[in-house]
Structure formats: structure tokens, C-alpha cells
């Protein structure tokens, strides 16, 4: 689709004018809204009211399902408004004043600090912005129809990180499941067994707040809040969960694309708003038959949690590491050597959680 011109987009300013870039982005968004339509959803996450505004149905249909469990029927004044648009479905090109994508890539890699109160980073597959002065955020991609699974299964990660981190809440790379409210934060790099453990727990009747990302709060007892109502599995692991095959959001997918389950649709009772974090668990695939738990040091827990969290965020900086350091100081951690049978793993995890006392406030 040919892109429609946006008024005032003829010449780009010098690099560094964050306000001009953000204002130009919003002009693009407003133009996209006029070209398509505006779809709004109000949500609440960890006490923050968030208004999501989508220019057009194409992007809303892709990004909202993972967040729809956060919808609130009686929204208050939004703390944060997120404005999203894509060029392919609206025909509106990115205004030139927003700057070059390469500049935004370099900026994302070089600094975690906002300029004039404005965060901006191009992180695959789109541009992310947050103006802390106005509490307005932006997200743009070229083509909503060509988003990768990790984006539609877990949208707005950078905006959420920028927004929540200064408020004492950290988006972490972890799964969280629980026995009632007693939760385990399951940490580790991709392929360590986080998702398979979380999905097994889901099928085994445990409560669930996420398989890949959770928002952690430390006020009072540490808690893991559900952000995305999705669960993702490598194709090779689907054979262990054959009952999920007819439920997947992406039954037709590439070989390297993970299968995605919308938990809020198929397991709504088990998707809880948050869980108390009683244990940090670092899974390890061993090929053994029995699941066992061994205490580990806070340093080992931080090693499992922090690198994959921080290296997935644009130039995250030192404060998130301090935050995660405080979490592992307060919550005991275990290595979880995984048995080969998901049902046995879930039973062992449930029994384990039944023995772990509440973490210190």
C-alpha cells in the first residue's frame, strides 16, 4: 500500500530534538487514526490504569488479545496512554521528523536515559516511544500483518519497562505459577525449561501469571503480576502437550515460530492477576525421571534472572539489576532438576510450594 504523506514531513531536523520527534510521531498516529479508525481499550496492570489506542483494526487484532485479560469495565483517568499504528493498514508513512531508524537503533544500544523526558528506541520490529512529561507512549510497526509471534504474544515490552521501572516495578524474563497464591518465579535463559514447566503447571491445575514475562513488585511481599495472557512453546515440545494443539493461536506457522496459546481464553480460571513469590526456581533439563529441588545462592539466582532480562531490554542500565538483586536477597532460590514427565514435574512443584514459607516483606 502506498503511504499517504503527513503534513509537515518534508524535512528532518537535526538528530537530538526528542520533542520534535515525538510530536511528529503523534502527528503520524493522528493521521493514521483519520485514515482508519480509533479503537480504544482501558486496562489495569499493577494498579496502573492504561489506555491503549490503536489506529485501525489490523494492529488491534494482533496486539490486544494478549492484554485483554487486563481490561477494566470502569476505567479511571489513565496514568499512561499508549498510541499504536502501522503503515501497511493505514497507509500513513512515518513522518521524516521522527528521525532515522538507524539513529533510534544506536540510541537504544547506547543509553537508558531519556532525552527531555522522552525514551525512544527502535527494537525489532518497531519503534517504541514514551514521553514521561505527558505520560503518552507510542508504538509503530510497518505492517501489523507481519508481526512476529514474540511481539503479538507479548507486546509493548519496552514501553512497559520504561513506565514501570521508575515506579518500583520491573518487567522480568521469567515464568510464574503457583499453588493458590504461593508462587514460584521460574527464571533462566530461553530453552532452560521455563515455558514447559509453566505450561505443564497450567495443565496440572496450578495458577498462572506468565511463561516468559512477569511484572515484579517488591512493596510488601514480592509479587509477580500477569502481563501477557499467552504461553509459548517450541514446536519440538508440543508433543509433550498434545491436548494444546487444537487450541493454538497460530496453528499454521514457520518451523522456527513458537506455538502460542491464549491462556485467558482456554484457562481463564487459572490466569490470576498476581502471585506472591515464595521461591525463585532455576529449572534445568536433565533427562532424569524425578524432579528434585536443591537450594542455591542468591548469586546463582541472579545469574539465572538478570542477564536474560537485561539483555532483552534496550540499554536497561543499573537500576533494574539492583531491583533484581533485592528480589533475590528476599526470596530463597532453588535449582529445579526437571523430570521428563510434565505431570510429575507439576506434582513435584506443587508439593514443593506447599512447603515454602512466605517471603519476607
Amino acid at each position: 500500500m502506498a503511504g499517504a504523506a503527513v503534513e509537515g514531513s518534508a524535512s528532518a531536523p537535526e538528530f537530538g530534538d526528542a520533542r520534535a520527534e515525538f510530536d511528529a510521531f503523534m502527528r503520524g498516529f493522528e493521521a493514521a487514526c483519520e485514515a482508519a479508525c480509533v479503537i480504544e481499550h482501558s486496562a489495569q496492570l499493577a494498579g496502573q490504569e492504561i489506555l491503549f489506542r490503536f489506529a485501525g483494526k489490523a494492529l488491534e487484532e494482533r496486539l490486544w488479545p494478549a492484554l485483554a485479560h487486563l481490561a477494566t469495565e470502569s476505567p479511571g483517568k489513565p496514568h499512561l496512554t499508549v498510541c499504536s499504528w502501522d503503515t501497511a493498514s493505514t497507509g500513513v508513512e512515518m513522518p521524516a521528523e521522527v528521525g532515522s531508524v538507524l539513529t533510534h537503533l544506536e540510541r537504544a544500544a547506547s543509553t537508558s536515559e531519556p532525552r527531555d523526558g522522552i525514551f525512544a528506541a527502535f527494537v525489532m520490529p518497531g519503534l517504541n516511544l514514551l514521553d514521561t512529561n505527558t505520560s503518552l507512549a507510542g508504538f509503530w510497526v510497518r505492517d501489523a500483518g507481519r508481526l512476529q509471534y514474540w511481539e503479538w504474544a507479548g507486546p509493548f515490552r519496552n514501553v512497559f519497562h520504561w513506565w514501570f521501572a521508575p515506579r518500583g516495578m520491573q518487567l522480568v524474563h521469567a515464568a510464574a505459577v503457583g499453588l493458590g497464591d504461593a508462587g514460584a518465579l521460574i527464571v533462566g535463559k530461553s530453552g532452560s525449561g521455563k515455558s514447559t514447566t509453566a505450561i505443564g503447571a497450567l495443565l496440572g491445575g496450578l495458577s498462572y501469571t506468565g511463561d516468559d514475562r512477569c511484572l515484579v513488585t517488591l512493596e510488601g511481599v514480592p509479587r509477580a503480576h500477569a502481563v501477557y495472557a499467552t504461553a509459548k512453546l517450541h514446536n519440538e515440545n508440543l508433543d509433550r502437550f498434545v491436548s494444546l494443539r487444537p487450541l493454538l493461536m497460530n496453528p499454521a506457522r514457520d518451523d522456527d515460530e513458537k506455538a502460542v496459546l491464549l491462556v485467558s481464553q482456554h484457562f481463564p480460571a487459572q490466569l490470576v492477576g498476581s502471585l506472591a513469590i515464595r521461591a525463585i526456581v532455576v529449572p534445568e533439563v536433565t533427562g532424569g525421571t524425578t524432579t528434585t529441588f536443591t537450594p542455591i545462592t542468591p548469586g546463582a539466582a541472579l545469574r539465572g534472572l538478570a542477564p536474560s532480562t537485561l539483555l532483552n531490554l534496550p540499554a536497561a542500565g543499573a537500576p533494574p539489576l539492583k531491583f533484581m538483586g533485592e528480589l533475590v536477597r528476599r526470596v530463597p532460590a532453588w535449582s529445579m532438576k526437571l523430570g521428563s514427565d510434565p505431570a510429575e514435574v507439576t506434582a513435584a512443584l506443587a508439593a514443593f510450594l506447599g512447603t515454602v514459607p512466605e517471603a519476607s516483606a
Binding site: E93, S100, L105, R146, Q148, W150, A306, L321
Partner: protein
């Protein structure tokens, strides 16, 4: 004579020490490191502006023996080579020092390279004249 002092290579490098184990992350390379026991104390002393000679002297006082210069110098060389420490003649030495373990163990810096792929994926496959990319699926996702 100029005393060689160092600082942590911030903001590319961030670190946290917990119960005598330091986790050091190089956000620029994607590598991360752990060092514990005496090594974690040495890391923190160096980040606090202590010179190699001062650190070795501190260890000599604590453990009552000679021969601490070589392991300290070796660790400094490694930390600089990994771009975790940078020389900083203007660094100010902190007065306080972290507690040392009871027994001396030569410092060992453990390097982890399993996260580097997160930074190596090139997300841009086709850039328009205006600078905004068409997104063409190729690189695997972040997780």
C-alpha cells in the same frame, strides 16, 4: 609516579554483589561474568578506585603472606581485556573495603557467553530510503 587506578566500564557494564558473589554484565557484548570469594572483593576494591598494588597489600595484610601481586595483576589484566574495567587516573579510592573471606582462594573470573545471541541478531533486513525498515522475518526472536 602515577598510580594505576580503575573504574567499572559503566554504562556498558553493570554489576551487583550478593553474599560474596559478584555478577558482572557487559550490556555491549552480551557476555556476563561471575566472580566470588576473594575475587569478588578484589573486583569491588578495584571498582572503588584501589590500585593493584594497594589491593595486593590489602590481601597481604589480611592473609599474612606474600605473593598476592601476581593473582591480582592477572585478574586486572583479564578484567581490562574483557572491557569490564577501564583505567581511570582520576578515580578516587574509597576509604572502606568489603569484608574478605577467611581463606584465600585465587580469583577466578567465570565468563558466560550464552546470551550473546540476543545482541547478535541483526533486526534490519531492508531499509527504505527514508530510513524505516520493511520487516522481513529471518532472525529468531528474543526468546
Amino acid at each position: 609516579m602515577t598510580v594505576e587506578r580503575y573504574r567499572m566500564n559503566a554504562p556498558n557494564v553493570i554489576a551487583e554483589t550478593l553474599d560474596g558473589e559478584a555478577l558482572i554484565i557487559n550490556l555491549h557484548t552480551g557476555f556476563y561474568y561471575s566472580i566470588d570469594s576473594v575475587g569478588a572483593a578484589v573486583w569491588n576494591l578495584l571498582c572503588d578506585g584501589w590500585s593493584s598494588t594497594e589491593v595486593a597489600g590489602h590481601l597481604q595484610d589480611a592473609f599474612r603472606g606474600p605473593g598476592f601481586s601476581a593473582p591480582v595483576d592477572s585478574l586486572v589484566t583479564e578484567l581490562v581485556a574483557e572491557q569490564l574495567l577501564v583505567a581511570d587516573p582520576a578515580a578516587l579510592r574509597a576509604d572502606s573495603s568489603p569484608p574478605l573471606p577467611t581463606d584465600f582462594q585465587p580469583p577466578v573470573l567465570r565468563k558466560y557467553t550464552d546470551m550473546q545471541g540476543l545482541l547478535e541478531a541483526d533486526p534490519i533486513h531492508e531499509v527504505e530510503a527514508a530510513g524505516w525498515p520493511h520487516v522481513i522475518p529471518a532472525a529468531p526472536g528474543p526468546n
